[in-house]
Amino acid sequence: MATLAEPIRPGAGRPNVASANIQLPGVESYEQVDREIAGTLAPTKGWFALLGISILFFLWGAGAWVYQIYWGLGNAGYNPPVMWGVYIITFVFWIGIGHAGTLISAILYLFRAGFRTTIYRCAEAMTVFAVMTAGLFPIIHIGRPWKFFWLVPYPNWRLVWPNFKSPLIWDVFAISTYLTVSATFLYVGLIPDIAVLRDRETNPLRKRLLAVLSLGWRNSEPEWRHFARMYLFLAAFSTPLVLSVHSVVSFDFAMALAPGWHTTIFPPYFVAGAIFSGIGMVFTIIIPIRKFFRLQHIVTINHLDAAAKLALATSLIVGCAYLIEFWVAWYSANEFEQAYFWNRVFGQWWWAAWIMLSCNMIFPLSLFSQRLRRNPTWLFILSILINLGMWFERFVIIVPSLSHEFEPWQWSGYVPSWVDISILAGSFGWFFMWFLLFIKNLPVIAIAEVKEIVPPRLRTHAPVADIDVTGHHVDYSPETPGERE
């Protein structure tokens, strides 16, 4: 017979400060969690409008692509030797976006950072759709998209195989792996929540569909046991994976000789940038969601604050990388590098470079102020700036390098064409189309995990906080320290 301790009166004693950051004062019971999160799924006019717009953008981009396939890449803005342009820029941009999701859901999980709990599902979905978007661009940008399957190693009567020394083949492997693993990660995380929805659902058709999706999950203890274990291992796999993916993407550049590309700093630099941009996108997405779905008491300001600190940290890393690049160029005494970097900031491409530097290095410094960190409006504005800045970071890496290479005779400029811009816009349409469909059909906040940080009902009354610093609840036995005065 478990005997329960002297109850702790609400308000009495100081709650654990660290845990205070992530606990949800506004949430009393499991019922409330189910009710409120499931409640977000009801479609609204605004949602339909947004979805419509996204689909229009997507169709526009798709049309542009068809046009380009028929009439040739010449209709894009390429200006040799600038052989890569908006498409590769946007590819790297979207891949980068993806990284925050995995970081939040996997790495922070391993680090037991509790504030991830309420935002990770959203971030994870973002990852999957971002990678889905990014994955299109290598196909869009090649001259003969209909031959793309040649990059996939499969037995064929030509007896020819891909070149496994090519960074593009590494890309194929890294990105397909990344897409598969993050999609799996998202889905298995969803299973218990789908089960919740299944059992709340009244419409038989939807119920059956959800039943299939939930794979007959029933919240039994053995299921949870294996689930937790699997989740741990997936997280353990995703962590090196996410680091490897953007390193591989950075190899696309580092493996070529072009000045400004051929440098060893790229992998860490790219990974940090990716996470930075991803968190930017998370803000762009989560802030409107918590506002319009009225989830401020679940996705609390504390969570945003914590995420903002992460953004600040990555921003500092990225900024440092920028500065080191210039230092390396100077220190190497390699005149190609020096000429290129001079041209980057003070020459032809100064404007792009300064957009990048201000958006990624200067503005984020504002996050040192707690007031701004806790101001969702500012975070939202900043997040837009970060997205812009990170797109231009890739622009600055790709275009100026190619336009100002070894051969002065071949120096050139670059102006995107309407096709580039249409497909860029289309990619946003495509991404938000999927995301919007997601948030109205599946819980955008992880029900089961939120329940973890909600105190369970007890025969006696609940304690104020049963959550420790890690965001995981502490055992509920009298011996547990920190629970009483």
């Binding site: 499969y154 037995p155 064929n156 009567w157 030509r158 007896l159 020819v160 299939v212």
Partner: protein
């Protein structure tokens, strides 16, 4: 339990799809192996080669001198067919005969040579334009025509014998051409027996040997 069946079905379909893809990729599914076409003149190879014993090079005169095997000029046909007409009366007990094919030929070769019309033969063996296949190199290396073109002497109507896939070419280049097999294909069993110990003749398999 209906759901169980549907699950099984789904995975089954998936497996089949994958298998099909792999197979089609590996077998030269994109090849036009086996196609045969109706020619403007229904030229019977068996009659000329098997019965009259004409040599391939008599008509395909540049196969040993040029990348291009060459096609018989109308004049070449008319060398014989000015005498051998389509219609032949019955003589010495042999019944009279009227050969459609020869008439087809004659319809192109009416009157004096300057009134003749060229015969629009239809191509059967077609390599993509980005492949360079120098006939003379192969013929001079002793590769019998039948090795690639199959038993043309027996074909009433010529069809594409080999797949002409890249893998098909490369296999021979790498493993080497066995004279005995070639002769056997050409129907020279004696020669084949004699050539059993001839070393297979390899050819370069660098991409730029054929693709440029």
């Amino acid at each position: 339990m209906s759901r169980r069946r549907s699950w099984a079905l789904a995975s089954g379909f998936f497996a089949i799809a994958v298998a099909a893809l792999g197979l089609s990729a590996y077998s030269g599914a994109s090849s036009s192996q086996g196609i045969d076409v109706v020619q403007p003149v229904n030229f019977p190879h068996p009659r000329h080669v098997q019965q009259l014993g004409m040599n391939c090079l008599y008509c395909h005169f540049s196969a040993n001198r040029s990348p291009d095997p060459g096609l018989p000029a109308v004049g070449t046909c008319m060398g014989c067919h000015t005498i051998i007409q389509g219609r032949r009366p019955a003589i010495q007990g042999v019944a009279d005969r009227d050969t459609a094919a020869i008439n087809q030929l004659l319809s192109f070769a009416k009157g004096t040579p300057d009134q003749w019309k060229p015969i629009p033969w239809v191509r059967v063996h077609k390599l993509p334009e980005y492949v360079h296949f120098p006939h003379m190199r192969h013929v001079n290396a002793g590769v019998t025509c039948q090795t690639c073109h199959g038993p043309v002497p027996e074909m009433q109507r010529v069809y594409q014998y080999a797949s002409l896939n890249m893998g098909w070419c490369v296999n021979c280049h790498v493993k080497g051409y066995k004279l005995a097999d070639g002769l056997l294909a050409a129907g020279d069993t004696a020669g084949a027996r004699a050539a059993t110990n001839v070393e297979p003749q390899k050819a370069r398999y660098d991409c730029a040997v054929c693709h440029y």
